[in-house]
């Protein structure tokens, strides 16, 4: 199996202090780790992309286990909706930089940690330079452009990519870009194209799931460092938390892979947002300008009893949290339920933030609806500026 390149064998292993020996005693007394393994952990440099759902358990466990150098890349700020799953952050951290919040916890857990924080978005301009300073990259990102960026940068720098991904109550984990193993592009050569296909953004995730998958990533990272066990390289682990089923699929290195195959067409980092077709991510497929309406304008019109049909394109469980009394047709059902709408009426479509309803408006425009507009900022803007008693989610 692939192990961390060179670092351990070339340099003299770091010496553990008596405090460290006591701290890691439960590792030191097991043959799979021992003094040699603990020294490998101390010498190891792991870069964690994101300090969110997956990044939380990853960073916490790697720190506790004695990984010597941990890098974290994140530029986000803690908000209330993070706390349901991003366990490295607490209520008191809301509004703080995730890096600052994470630093406090990690240093409190293990003062021997050499923590390196990178307050930046990972980009094609900085990824290679950053990755070269580490042995292993653990990918805890949440979007396709960064997934492909992390993968390609790992292949190009020869660093293993410990991969984890979650959606609602399902997760995937693997180890990509080891010396002879497949990479993420061998599995998914290209991302799904954006379009009218309903996006599951705001689709939610069970709070424990990033814990489950992030701990799997931490386990794989530690196994790579120790050179122990069977890594997930060449296997895709599927986790179904609802059925509590773990399945695995075989992954193969694709000889036609554009980044790690025999005839490589990608030899440097590219523009990943363009590659994933998400430049202006929520920009819908409809070519024309989308008519917009602000929450203030809508409020004025509704108060004046104007004939306005409010169309709510969220999911029924979101409608239960809060609503504007609108007519509910989830975005995914819109094509088959379009006959329920009257194209002669003034329609205002809304969702939570305005992304899904933009797609709905684009779709209705294409279907010949003339008088549709999109509520800017969605019901969230309504809750912030019109009805402050309304719950936000």
């Amino acid at each position: 199996m692939a192990t961390v390149p060179d670092v351990n064998s070339v340099k003299a292993p770091p010496v553990l202090s008596n405090d460290e020996i006591l701290r890691y005693s439960r590792h030191l007394i097991m043959p799979e780790v021992g003094m040699e393994g603990q020294q490998k952990l101390k010498a190891a440099k792991v870069l964690c992309i994101g300090a969110g759902g997956l990044g939380s358990p990853l960073a916490l466990y790697l720190t506790a286990a004695g990984v010597g150098t941990l890098g974290i890349v994140d530029f986000d700020v803690v908000d209330y909706t993070n706390l349901q799953r991003q366990i490295i952050h607490t209520t008191a951290d809301v509004g703080r930089k995730k890096l600052d919040s994470a630093s406090d916890k990690l240093k409190a857990i293990n003062p021997f940690l050499n923590l390196r924080t990178f307050d930046t978005k990972l980009t094609s301009a900085n990824a290679l330079e950053l990755f070269r300073e580490f042995d292993i990259v653990a990918d805890g990102t949440d979007n396709f452009p960064t997934r492909y960026l992390v993968n390609d940068a790992c292949v190009l720098t020869g660093k293993p990519n410990v991969y984890g991904s979650i959606f609602r109550f399902e997760g995937q984990a693997s180890v990509f870009a080891t010396k002879d193993g497949p990479c993420y592009r061998c599995l998914y050569p290209e991302p799904p194209p954006p379009g009218l296909v309903p996006s599951c953004a705001e689709g939610g995730v069970l709070g424990i799931l990033p814990g489950l998958v992030g701990v799997i990533q931490a386990t794989e990272t530690i196994k790579l460092i120790l050179g122990q066990g069977d890594s997930l390289a060449g296997r895709l682990l599927l986790v179904d938390a609802l059925g509590m089923k773990f399945r695995e699929l075989k992954l193969r290195k694709n000889p036609d892979c554009p980044v790690c195959g025999t005839h490589r067409t990608i030899t440097k980092l590219i523009d990943y947002e363009e590659f994933c077709g998400v430049r202006g991510q929520e920009a819908p497929v409809y070519g024309g300008d989308l008519p917009l309406i602000s929450v203030e304008e809508l409020k004025k019109k509704l108060d004046a009893k104007a004939d306005i049909f409010v169309l709510d394109v969220r999911e029924p469980h979101e409608y239960q949290i809060c609503n504007l009394g609108g007519y509910l047709i989830p975005l995914g059902d819109l094509p088959k339920r379009i006959s329920e709408l009257d194209s002669s009426r003034q329609i205002v479509a809304h969702c939570k933030m305005g992304g899904r309803s933009a797609k709905a408006v684009a779709f209705l425009k294409q279907a010949g609806f003339a008088k549709v507009s999109n509520l800017t900022g969605g019901i969230t803007a309504w809750a912030e500026r019109i009805d402050t008693k309304m719950p936000k989610y």
Binding site: T141, F167, P192, E202, G203, L236, G332
Partner: protein, 117 residues
């Protein structure tokens, strides 16, 4: 009647054996499969089984196939634990007990989840 995995049953009316295969539907696609996590379909090959799936659930079609009827590049189909790209693709023959899985790419990790299958 619940038919586990790939099973051949004797169809009384047509007096023939019909082979059924179970297709595992990932959660992002379940909104198009009547919320079902697994669908039993007839078919002797992967291609036939997938065709059976989209005829049962037509809404799945545009998510799995391009307009000219080709399986989309980002849709990964496995027969048991093997990627069908490394078997005979859609011509892969199905045996008793085989399970087909559709494995979507999901990108979620820290903030909101994004999946565009």
């Amino acid at each position: 009647m619940f038919i586990p995995f790939h099973t051949c049953i004797f169809h009384q009316y047509h007096s023939i054996f019909i082979c059924m295969t179970q297709i595992q539907i990932p959660s992002p696609l379940r909104q198009y499969s009547g919320k079902q996590a697994a669908v039993d379909v007839p078919g002797k090959t992967v291609g036939e089984a997938l065709a059976g799936l989209v005829s049962l659930h037509p809404e799945l079609k545009r998510h799995l196939y391009t307009d000219d009827g080709k399986l989309r590049a980002f849709v990964n189909v496995y027969v048991n634990d093997e990627d069908m790209r490394y078997l005979q693709k859609e011509a892969t023959a199905l045996k008793d007990g085989d399970t087909i899985s559709i494995v979507p790419s999901i990108a979620g990790g820290c903030g909101v989840m994004i999946c565009r299958l």
